[in-house]
Amino acid sequence: MEEFTKYTASELKKKIAQDSLTASDIASSVVTRYDKVEEKVKGFAHFDKLSLLERAKELDKEPCTGDLSKVPVVLKDNICVKDELTTCSSNILAGFKPPYDATVVTKLKESGALLLGKSNMDEFAFGSSCETSCYYPTNNPYDIERVPGGSSGGSAALVAADETVLALGSDTGGSIRQPASLCGVVGMKPTYGRVSRYGLIAFGSSLDQIGPITKNVSDCAGLLNVISGHDPMDSTSADIPVPDYMGSLVGNVKGLRIGIPKEYDTESLFLDKVVPVNETGVKIKEAIKLLKDLGAEVVDISLPHTKYAVSVYYIVGCSEASSNLARFDGVEYGHRAKHQDALIDMYKKTREEAFGSEAKRRIILGTYTLSSGYYDAYYLKAQKVRNLIKQDFDDAFSRCDIILTPTSPETAWLKGLKIKDPLLMYLSDIFTIPANLAGIPAVSLPCGYDSKGLPIGLQFMAKHFDEEVLLRAAYTYEQNATWQRKKPEL
């Protein structure tokens, strides 16, 4: 049977029309692919073959003419799907089935998409390697001894492994872009407020955004069209019209001013934890040259407060997370510790037993930074520096249209390598974090492989609500890059 999941969404839609494929046909092909490679990839957190086939049958009953009709989509396990397991890859939400759909899920269902199941993630999105999941780590399809990145590691790996056509992830500090980079796929974090957060289980409320993870830029634009838009259920959702992002797929960067921040270079960011960026640096330079040859103008810019970004992120993110995760206490849903006589005991035991180590660490850090006597020195201070970081971008965008950087300082590392050193892990997000702090949109796309055959990603950032220029630049690069795309050998 043909594996329909190897196609991009645009290709599959054509095939569906040409060959009158049914959702059941596609679902069967998904199952075939799953049976073949999932044991190696381990990208799913929840996948139920029978429900999938049932869902496909139901989908076939309806005359669906939606934009994504019958196209397979995978959702990160922190996005609520009504009556389906949604656990953030955490034991504390064991068995949890939300009684409602996230807004993006409602939109996907309306577009006729075939929802496959939930992808694995770092527990509560706390991580950059998909190793803190309560279930199992997900493997990088290009080398299953290596991490896929995180926290949307499952979504990125499933797209790269052709187990799905499209995926949604969430990005708080790089959690869509970094795994997309490590797995050789496209991942975008939209402008804060572009996509509704209603139904996304919160980590850092002022940072989180749901975004597409896809095989190419065109699919990214298509999926962005479906999930974007104002939501009255989300006070932070922007009431700004959604352009047709497919219209940005124009292969022209003439006169586009590309800012290269001098701080995003190498060693200065890492102190003694330097990991040489040689191979990544080389590929980024090649990409810059290609764009220049196509008529773009390269501008040197400065983002002087970059080196504080990781610190600001961990203080703000963990503070918000400590409050957002307080609701996981065994009262209304999820895990509850057994045989507790008193309430406080129940709270403590429940949260001790069911939160993983990274979750506990971040909650304790966040509680500390908000506590009396420390609020000014940490949280308040971090929010002020955050403003400085945003101002850096405002200044930069007066001199350029987009900013280009590597997505990740390095390619996929071996599982277990960084997990024992939290700070080392946090520094992997150095290039992606600033976009979340400033709320600006950013996209990662593949720009080559290193000598081990591991994918390298390049990142574009643009100013608020300028996803169109991001897509145009990304599309142009993708259409003109000469290096060969290689699917992982599974």
């Binding site: 402008t191 940072l207 065994g330 406080i344 700070l423």
Partner: protein
């Protein structure tokens, strides 16, 4: 600023998370490491800078005072670890 084990214990209590002694020690060490790193923020002069709590400048989001369908009692309690007579059941709070 160095965090000691009893600070970790106090903070863990505030956060209602039980920790073993080893965890208390490990977290104290790890948190000290992280806090030493984030301490770089204090070298920055932020006099006159407003704190930023939102990435984009929107304001005054409101909704009308109109009734919306909620959840049925059974949907609300569907995930409850313990329930009785339509209510969530919890261990008694010792006063």
């Amino acid at each position: 600023m160095s965090i000691k084990k009893d600070t970790i214990r106090y903070v863990a209590d505030l956060a209602r998370i039980g920790l073993s002694e080893q965890e208390e020690e490990l977290f104290a060490e790890q948190l000290n490491h992280i806090l030493a790193y984030v301490d770089q923020l204090n070298k920055l002069d932020t006099k006159g800078i407003e704190p930023m709590s939102h990435a984009v400048s929107m304001s005054n989001v409101l909704r009308d005072d109109i009734l919306k369908d909620g959840l049925s009692n059974s949907d609300a309690l569907n995930n409850a670890p313990e329930k009785e007579d339509g209510s969530f059941k919890v261990p008694k709070i010792i006063e």
